[in-house]
Subunit: 368 residues, 2 copies
Amino acid sequence: MNQNPAARLDGSVRVVGAGLLGASIGLGLKARGVDVILSDASRAGLNLAVDYGAGRLPHEGDDPALIVVAVPPDATASVVAAELAAYPTATVTDVASVKVAPLAELEALGDTLGTGDLARYVGSHPLAGRERGGAIAARADLFIGRPWVVCPRPEVPRERVGLVEHLILDLDATPVTLAAEEHDAAVALVSHAPQMVSTLMAKRLDGAPASALALAGQGLRDVTRIASSNPELWVQILSANAPAVVEILRAFRDDLDDVLRALGDVEASGARRALAQDLAAGNAGVAGLPGKHGQDRRYASVVVMVDDRPGELGRLFGELGEIGVNIEDLRLEHSPGAQIGLAEIAVLPEVKTRTIDDLSARGWRIAG
Amino acid sequence: MNQNPAARLDGSVRVVGAGLLGASIGLGLKARGVDVILSDASRAGLNLAVDYGAGRLPHEGDDPALIVVAVPPDATASVVAAELAAYPTATVTDVASVKVAPLAELEALGDTLGTGDLARYVGSHPLAGRERGGAIAARADLFIGRPWVVCPRPEVPRERVGLVEHLILDLDATPVTLAAEEHDAAVALVSHAPQMVSTLMAKRLDGAPASALALAGQGLRDVTRIASSNPELWVQILSANAPAVVEILRAFRDDLDDVLRALGDVEASGARRALAQDLAAGNAGVAGLPGKHGQDRRYASVVVMVDDRPGELGRLFGELGEIGVNIEDLRLEHSPGAQIGLAEIAVLPEVKTRTIDDLSARGWRIAG
């Protein structure tokens, strides 16, 4: 019988590395009643995560069935190897955001690993994170609804892969199986190249005149938001996935050279058409993104003007509750100095008209 | 005495071009009781904006003191010239997102304009917009709290510039005075170059495997959001401001070449340091952006877990009102399939602890 009635995982889970991901995994598993053993090279970091409720300190005789290595990419292979050696029957996974390089490193360590040890390793990668790092930013719900890639190699027994899938499902994430090479090419496209593009755009702002920065709007803020990510971590990620990232960025650079040529002489034949084609291809690229945040047409939007004082949003949402309208998504715009904010509420399309009518009847000003 | 007691502007305002900006200006001025005369090359577009409440059709004998030209950048100079000729005493402004090119075009038209006509023209540009265009997306509050650049030339009498400032203040925007060249360099940096960077990143996604796109997170969505902007409009904007945009994008391209070199051989001496320096410069660039979005440290964040059913957000915000906490900003995260959403609330730092304590005491689950 499973020791953890609310979990798929049985027994204890050891989490090595008590940063954002490790501590979030610990919080999520503990919420399901799983015994979580935390370990971290930093005693202070470990104690913080334990205080935070992400797990307990190791005991003599701990016998985890599953070990999750959640350390920076550069350290992943050596820590995985050490855990495989220290716990000779456990399944070991990692959460590094690159998958080919750690595996190659582990294979190169072949001699120092025990025979068959690599058949207990299943690489994985949760597509979840925050700009802020550390246990203090950890959240039990960090992985809810997010994809979590598993890269099982043919020699790994099915039940060990199943253990990692149980971990993922217990954290309410969605397991996605990919080969390590497929994974690395995919994250180069959707994460690593965009990081560098955002970084280099934000670098242009460094030292720019305040009069120019004062004109910045939401578009610039969105493009550059992830440029505030941790440099040390990102040097490791980009370095470990360099060939795949270079492939995307080189194609980007070639397109950029074409744009520079077109902008260098906009009256030349074909120059404007080339720009229009790039802009249209960008439209198509965004339209192809799945999910509710991209170009989602599942919801309709209602924009309500809200006075900037305590309780006004409460009154709005209370009245939405009274008229039985669920808020699918929400964005509050609030201009510096303005006495009025805008609440942009996403609702199901079939209730949009009723929402506007009912709110208007109750005296709310609808802005769009 | 002013005909419009709720406005700074006296008399009628004529708005030429009934798209997003023109119709939003009309809605905003009408909300202050100003008589707004709308004109548009498209009869259907004009009727739509009139039906939408953005203004009235022109009458024989209209005598507007101020005319706002809100047509695409390519058409701006010729429409401004036509309005200067048709209304020989009116002040004419425009809202095109480039300022040097329309002025140069107008100056080239010198002969066909009447003597001194250009002394009645004051270029301007509101930093406001939406991805959606057209009168149907117009909002009376589009300009609230946004910067609105005015580019007065020395020969324009002060009272004509004052009229344009009254327009801006009546729409609750903030007038910012810049020379046309300063304006164009600034928007190249904060708007036009980021548009092209976002577009070219989004172009990489066009035709990418669905298995890769399924891994997309909020970071990619943010970087590429503005890539869904209108291609036709942006060809005009980029073409009209090409030299300033090229200057930014060329520097970006040179940085990108350095990144490609570093990623081409990450073990080379200095390669990782070069990447780290770029990432740090990106951090600095984002940190330098003013305002509450970006890396704002004026507010503290409290994350509350909210059940996904009608009324729950209302209850939360109602209770925040009861405990006297104002919500400075808000973001709702809601994973597909999850029964729980996360409300990330920005509050003044001094009330963060009390907010967490009071909400916890009332049974709310605080996630961070």
